[in-house]
Structure formats: structure tokens, C-alpha cells
Symmetry: C2
Subunit: 143 residues, 2 copies
Amino acid sequence: MKSSLEELEKELKIRNINISYQRLKVLECLTLNHCHPTVDQIFTALHKDIPTLSKTTVYNTLRILVDAGMVRVITIEEHETRYDIDMENHGHFKCESCGMIYDFSIDIDLLTCDELSNFEVNDQNVYFKGICPGCLSNINQNK
Amino acid sequence: MKSSLEELEKELKIRNINISYQRLKVLECLTLNHCHPTVDQIFTALHKDIPTLSKTTVYNTLRILVDAGMVRVITIEEHETRYDIDMENHGHFKCESCGMIYDFSIDIDLLTCDELSNFEVNDQNVYFKGICPGCLSNINQNK
DNA sequence: GTTCCTGCAAAAGCTTTGCAGAAGA
DNA sequence: TCTTCTGCAAAGCTTTTGCAGGAAC
């Protein structure tokens, strides 16, 4: 995974996206904190460094990155759009207690079934919900 | 699948949900048109029969049904919450051309992996997107 | 000088909340 | 009568749009 600003710049140039400080920082935020942030989380994180930043710019930048295929949208929960820079197929687990999103690997080929043989499948998402190990042990401790 | 109003009434009573005409009709709408409707689609469909119906009631009813475990929420697309009365595990395919949602069966056990062995999984969703056969043939015809 | 980007403000859209009246037991 | 349900109106949130100023080339 690319992480330095120079490498991110290269990635943007490859996809014909003009460079700007804001765009680089949004991209860096997604790369460094691999936490599937919401728009608000990205905005809050970057606002410290860029006090003039507006949410509009975050929205604009994310749309550009999604359209360019560099970032994918995760809609695991209604009214909570999240963004993920890892385009490899993997599942997402959301802990209903702490809200954390965990990645897990899946063999997506196992899901392909005869029913969809005449469908053109462009995007595959697997979303699980439940309680993560950390929260489970907390619950058990408090019993 | 239950479909008559009497059977739906029984289902509600089992779950200790009080009966009302609006609630029965929302439930009937979900049962008859197995099309994973949005709130707006349910409202529009029922408004013909119940001119006084308000969206608030549709929202209230759906929350009650979801909380009772009779209906599940589908968030296959951001800003488009859909509702499904079929609680059996199955995948959803959304056609990006016509917007239709198709069900397909999946063997959910195949997805269970070692990484999640310490997680308590309560909900599993599989969302695919692409083009459905009907739209594919339309596209080919217009070539 | 031209083009594109940023960010404020306003608008739009969906969902929730407050509350008064109505319906039902 | 008492409880619950309905539905209008308003509020709350997230996201989008319009537009003027500014930066970059």
C-alpha cells in the first residue's frame, strides 16, 4: 500500500487527477488510518492541519476518487457512508457495540452461483454485523 | 410466505405487535410485492388505498417490524434504504441500469472464516451490483 | 489569461421528533 | 377512561448545488 505523499501523487497522476494539497491529504488520511472513515471523520482529522478545509471539498474529493476507482464506498449501515481505499475484495464486519469496522478476507468465488450466470457482476460486497472479541470480553467481565 | 391479511394478523399477534389497518397494509405491501421497496415506494403504493396515510406512519411501522425481527433493512445503496420481509439468508443483486433488486441464494456457511472465529456474528449481508440479463440484452440490441 | 479548485452559503432530500387529535379496548 | 396509533408540522442530518474568490500553470 502506498503511503508517502510522493507515491500518492504518482497514483493521482496515473489516473489524470490534478494534484492539490487537500486531495493529497484526503488520500493520505484514507491510506494511513485504515479505519474506513466517514466524511465527518476525515474532515475532523484534517481540519487540525488545514483549518480552512471545508466539508464540500472532502465530498468533492471523495467523489473524484470513487469515480476514478481508487476508493470504494461502504454502505454497511444506513446514513453512514464510509470510504475504503483497499479495492481488493474483502468482507467488512461492523461491531454493533463499539462501531469499529474490521476487514476479513473472503473467497468471493465461492459466492458465484448459477442463478447469476446471466448477470454481469461489477461489484461484490459482504457485510457482517455483530460483536467483536474486545467488546465480547468486556461484556463477560461486567457480568 | 404468508399473504392473507388474517395470516399477517396472526404473525403480528405472535410478536406482541398491536394490529392496525396501516400496519397490516405495510406488511401486506412487503409480502405481496416482493420487490424490496423503499419507504417512498411503500407510501406511494398504499396512498391510493389510504389517502390519509402519512410517511411518519410508514416509518414508525417499519421500525416496529424491524425491531421485532419480521423485516430486515437492506442498505445496498447509500441514501436508499430498502426493506425485505424475507429473513432467510440470501444475497441481493442490484442492477445499476434499471435499479431492480434480485434475490439470489447463497451458502452463507462458505463465508465463515477463521479470522472471525472470535467474533459473534449476528447479521450477514451479501450485496452485488452490475447489469441484469434484461438490461444486458437491451444494450446489445441497441449496438 | 485561462482553467480548475476551494469553500461559504443555501438548497435538497430523507428521517426523526413533538404533539394534538382520533381510534380502539 | 385510558392507552395506543396516526399524521401534520417542524427540526435535524447528511449530502449536493451555486457561485464568487483564489490558486496554479
